[in-house]
């Protein structure tokens, strides 16, 4: 079985049934279950999440991208400072980047004030963090390969029967 195909199917639809996965990959159900368990244990599969467009709910949610400048530490490089950042529950995603700043964190909160307060009182004060810049998200168009707004694309108008 090709892991790549299994992972791609799940990445597209994490709710795909084991029987359908087995059919699509021409494998037995047992093999699929076994391989999934292994991939979970190996942390190749890190979860089965839902892409939610909160904008379409009544839930208030604000997302910000935070550029973080930080200094590396002897022995640890950037890993220890990163762990101090990513452990906050407000922090959704953290990347170490090349370029003029070190980290990009995606932070979520209920209001802009809440996010701003978190950055000022927590992130910016961490040892090793030398500066931050905060960019609030105004509109989300695409997330994890999924287009989240109305888009005609992909609604194909193929004829019913063609040669």
């Amino acid at each position: 079985m090709e892991d790549k195909l299994l992972l791609k199917l799940l990445q597209k639809n994490a709710r795909m049934k084991i029987t359908d996965l087995a059919a699509a990959l021409n494998e037995s159900k047992d093999n699929i279950i076994e391989r999934l368990t292994e991939l979970e244990q190996e942390k190749v599969i890190c979860g089965y999440h839902t892409i939610v467009n909160w904008d379409r709910t009544n839930t208030e949610i604000v997302t910000a991208l935070i550029q973080i400048n930080a200094s590396p530490e002897r022995e640890y490089g950037y890993d220890r400072i990163a762990s101090r950042i990513y452990k906050f529950s407000e922090v959704d995603t953290v990347y170490l980047l090349s370029g003029s700043f070190e980290f990009m964190a995606i932070v979520k909160g209920k209001t802009m004030q809440e996010v701003a307060h978190f950055v000022a009182s927590k992130l910016a004060c961490l040892d090793g963090v030398t500066g931050t810049s905060t960019f609030f998200v105004l509109k989300q168009y695409k997330n994890n390969g999924v287009i989240l707004i109305e888009d005609e694309d992909g609604k194909n108008d193929r004829l019913v029967v063609t040669p």
Binding site: K4, L5, K8, L9, N13, M16, D20, A23, A24, L25, N26, D153, G154, N156, R158, L159, V160, V161, T162, P163
Partner: protein, 390 residues
């Protein structure tokens, strides 16, 4: 005035497509779930669309060279070399056409004299035999066999060749069967083709959609390369059906003659489509692979679904069709598809639309999402269960 009398004998002799009849039936109904479509469900990759739009913005709205943009021909030739190890000269051995369809037409017009025989495979794509007849030739069908997974075997080929044979049209991976010829399969027929000295028109439009063995182009056999006319295009691999863009690769003499015909009937393929395709060849191979992976999982899903419902279906190694055998239901292909449409509103195409040898089979396209396939195959299963209960 009797306008019927004005119609040429040649046009009259062409049979209306069996697909057309079924299209009319299916499109009159509402809420039809179709598995009858011979084109990808993916929209053309955005990079290709964007490049075409940019070419229009820049005012690239003129005729291109008759053979097509040289840079596109260079990319096509490099692509065929890189992917399938067959090399052609972009300046003298490549023509950009209006779809593979034009390629088939001009190849036949360039080769066929009145009365020449051209071997076509049955079941096979709907356009080949009419194309032969329109060019004044006689289409000689080879009846392919289910037990061979619709491959062309040396025995069948030998039987069909006569002193009048001018050419054979091959199409692997095959529409409608999904049949596939491996290198080993070709090795058995190449000596026969060499000895007979006939031309091979090889429609390789589904080459990128090969799932098991690597795709093998018959033109990769050096001993018959110059007998081959390779026809391909962007419709299937790059999801560009509506753009109508294809190409022909062949020896210089054939190519020159086909260019002559092409320049009179077409002039040059649409410019915007050519600029789009150029981008596709340069930057979209990953997207092609992603689409192939999707098709492969859908194929597996379909083959299992049909076999589970008792309709014997072999695992096709290419294209995006499965060809389930419906003989066990006691119905003809036409009956099966009509009743299925009536009863469950699911459209498939009767195998007979692709030649008499398609009797007992239906063509099911899997250019649909697994979710759609699941719903449709479930309905077909219910239909088959009803049939068996009488």
């Amino acid at each position: 005035m009797n306008y019927e009398d004005m119609i040429s004998e040649r046009a009259k002799i062409i049979k209306p497509s069996g697909i057309r009849k079924f299209f009319d039936l299916a499109s009159q109904m509402e809420g039809v779930i179709s598995l009858g479509v011979g084109e990808p469900d993916f929209t053309t990759p955005w990079a290709i669309r964007e490049a075409a739009i940019y070419s229009i913005e820049k005012g690239k709205t003129f005729y291109t060279a008759n053979r097509g943009l040289l840079e596109l021909r260079e990319e096509i030739c490099q692509y065929y070399q890189r992917r399938f190890q067959v090399s052609y000269n972009p300046e003298t051995e490549c023509i950009v056409t209006v779809g593979g369809s034009e390629g088939i037409d001009i190849a036949l017009r360039a080769l066929v004299n009145p009365g020449d025989e051209v071997i076509v495979l049955d079941p096979g794509y709907v356009a080949y035999a009419p194309g032969v007849e329109l060019s004044g030739g006689v289409a000689v069908p080879i009846t392919l066999r289910h037990e061979d997974q619709f491959k062309l075997t040396p025995e069948l080929l030998k039987e069909a060749i006569s002193p009048k044979t001018k050419a054979i049209i091959l199409n692997y991976p095959s529409n409608p069967t999904g049949g596939f010829m491996t290198k080993q399969d070709y090795e058995k027929i190449v000596p026969i083709i060499k000895e007979a000295g006939i031309a091979v028109i090889s429609d390789e439009i589904y080459a990128e959609l090969s799932y098991g063995d690597e795709f093998c182009s018959i033109a990769s056999f050096d001993e018959i390369k110059d007998q081959c006319i390779v026809i391909s295009g962007f419709s299937k691999a790059f999801a560009m059906t509506g753009w109508r863009l294809g190409y022909i690769l062949s020896n210089e003499i054939f190519s020159k003659m086909m260019t002559k015909i092409h320049q009179y009937i077409i002039m040059s393929a649409p410019s915007a489509a050519q600029y789009g395709a150029l981008e596709g060849l340069r930057r979209c191979q990953d997207e092609v692979e992603n689409m192939r992976d999707s098709y492969m999982t859908r194929r597996n899903f379909c083959v299992k679904a049909f076999n589970d419902m008792g309709l014997e279906t072999f695992m096709p190694q290419g294209a995006f069709y499965v060809f389930p055998c419906i003989k066990s239901t006691g119905l003809t292909s036409d009956e099966f598809c009509e009743k299925l449409l009536d009863d469950q509103r699911v459209a498939c195409v009767p195998g007979t639309a692709f030649g008499p040898a398609g009797e007992g089979f239906i063509r099911v396209s899997y250019a649909y999402s697994i979710e759609e396939l699941k719903v449709a195959t479930e309905k077909i299963k219910q239909f088959v269960e009803k049939l068996s209960k009488g």
